[in-house]
Symmetry: none
Subunit: 197 residues, 4 copies
Amino acid sequence: MPKIVDHDQYRKELLQGCLALFAERGYGSITMRQIAKGLSVSTGTLYHYFPSKESIFMQLVQELCEQDISNFFAQASEEGSLEERLQAVMDFVLQNIQKYHQQLLLWVDFFQQTREGSEAEILFLRQIWDRTRDTLKDYLQVQDPAILDFIMVFVDGLMIQFIYNRGFQRMEWFEQQCQLTIQMILRHEQHCLETQT
Amino acid sequence: MPKIVDHDQYRKELLQGCLALFAERGYGSITMRQIAKGLSVSTGTLYHYFPSKESIFMQLVQELCEQDISNFFAQASEEGSLEERLQAVMDFVLQNIQKYHQQLLLWVDFFQQTREGSEAEILFLRQIWDRTRDTLKDYLQVQDPAILDFIMVFVDGLMIQFIYNRGFQRMEWFEQQCQLTIQMILRHEQHCLETQT
Amino acid sequence: MPKIVDHDQYRKELLQGCLALFAERGYGSITMRQIAKGLSVSTGTLYHYFPSKESIFMQLVQELCEQDISNFFAQASEEGSLEERLQAVMDFVLQNIQKYHQQLLLWVDFFQQTREGSEAEILFLRQIWDRTRDTLKDYLQVQDPAILDFIMVFVDGLMIQFIYNRGFQRMEWFEQQCQLTIQMILRHEQHCLETQT
Amino acid sequence: MPKIVDHDQYRKELLQGCLALFAERGYGSITMRQIAKGLSVSTGTLYHYFPSKESIFMQLVQELCEQDISNFFAQASEEGSLEERLQAVMDFVLQNIQKYHQQLLLWVDFFQQTREGSEAEILFLRQIWDRTRDTLKDYLQVQDPAILDFIMVFVDGLMIQFIYNRGFQRMEWFEQQCQLTIQMILRHEQHCLETQT
DNA sequence: TATGAATGAGTATTCATTCAT
DNA sequence: CATGAATGAATACTCATTCAT
């Protein structure tokens, strides 16, 4: 009988601990020793659960994404008009803006690091991105893919603002931008309906 | 390798050479040896002009901002309707997407680097953002500041897409997003005019 | 002006120092730190002169082989009968038996290490081997390639004996084996001449 | 994985399994985890039966010698002329070249390992060599001990070639070398008989 | 001024070994 | 007996920086 440890469960716990560490120092800057120390395990143990630093990152991205999606559905009502659902999405983004801003930093850092990297990782991340988009599509029930992409572009742009301004930007500004965008989308949808008939 | 007597002038020339190198490999990944090689000087010479790697980076960011951002909208024609001018802005962005994407990368690197840094740098970048917005405002003659911010958010979001997709995304996708956004803005402006009266 | 060092000359000096270190501990067992320490330089300096541990080994093998050849010709007379020249070869081998035994260990160790290794290294060593054989061929003026291979097989076998017996085998035994082999080869050559006519 | 109660018996079975593993990857390269995996046991179990990696290796060498070497010439027919019997020996060597090449590798590994080791192991291997020579002597009925040693030197040299060339050398080359050597020995014996009378 | 040789702590990763279960 | 999680020192190699020339 081995030491009683739920390998998979413990791996996820370590992953959770990694989020804060990566966010704090960035993918490129943090070392495996620092991660191990931050998690209060040895480097050997770290490698027992993850084959490489890159793997930690990959698994972390996946885990975060899955959490995001389930967190969102735990909070958002599946009912309501398009406007209400757009509002729910934006509310969720604004509530988690701190967290998403960290995630964006992580992603960009990673892309810097693996600039000439193998296609496999890029495709993997691509899939996660696609999954998020599909979830968004199902929730909003918007048919036009361009609108979905537009929303995600907008949210990413918002994060960049958050980075640039490091919290100096007032929260109201973000809310205002969201309202503006929601109105624009609604008007666009309205217009499409009208021109169709 | 020019034999320039003016220390400061030569320093700036070296800095110019660094731009492409940093953009190509990222601050974290490029080594001093690679920079030196890329500039066709020895590491010793590099250290003669810059006290450290971080110093090169900081000076580069500053230099870039000083010369580059102010020219953002210098090219576009001052004539035409709002739609034409929005189109001119988007065309300009798409034409220079490669370049702005590099700058965004540099800035994110900068923020990673100065994560716990002094407020001075943040304010400095803030000023650049404001200047860019003012230029945009003058050009588009749009009164609503939220719209201007929205455009900049959108452009930043577009850059993030460019990073994520590393050229996998077709150019048409970017053009489509721009058209969508232009139409949304025009419709918004139309709506504002109608409700005002 | 750089620090005055003849890069290539110093590299060869380091290489000389490596011979003893490799021979003492084996290619697989010795570490780069130990090599650096043994050469009284830092690991950084070691990597300044050699790109990798494998490269040190490769260059060492080449250097040793070149030295062997030039040492041999410095000693051996180009004149004389086949018997005298065979004798010169065997004398040279026996005189350097200690050294060759170390080299053989090095080679075998290396082959163990790079068992699944890239073809490049194997081809490189192959070339060195071929060069030795060509030199032997020119010296002995023996036309039959099988005889040359036979001599090299015999010498390698002798080294294995030296390893197995670690000097317990008396020197006379080695001399006796050499004489036996020389006589066999001469008799073979004689026979070939007779049957040809 | 048999469930054997006899500790010692099971230990020997594990040892048998180790032979292929060591031969395949070499003492230095194989890890305890790989050995454990290859034997379908856990590392803990491995350490239950053997105190260390080195211990496995040493016990393996001993076990191999005990069972393998004595069977070296058991297969060959006891009838026939000297030529036929030499041919039988060479055929046997060539048939088992793969296996003996592995054993030679193991022994060289052993010598690398025990470079500064106790004399006991060396004497032990010496005995094996002597026993092999005695078996060869009985089989070939050659009186001259130098010839017997010569044959063994030749066979060892052949193995070294096998290692160096890693299968690149065609099998015909080995056969050719064997034929050459047989002819040389026969001619030598002939000569001895002639000069004796 | 300019060079590039030298440094050594630092990097991701491996591995023989231990030990709680 | 058996397991495999845990350890941490060790590995090959890197890199910002220094400094003699």
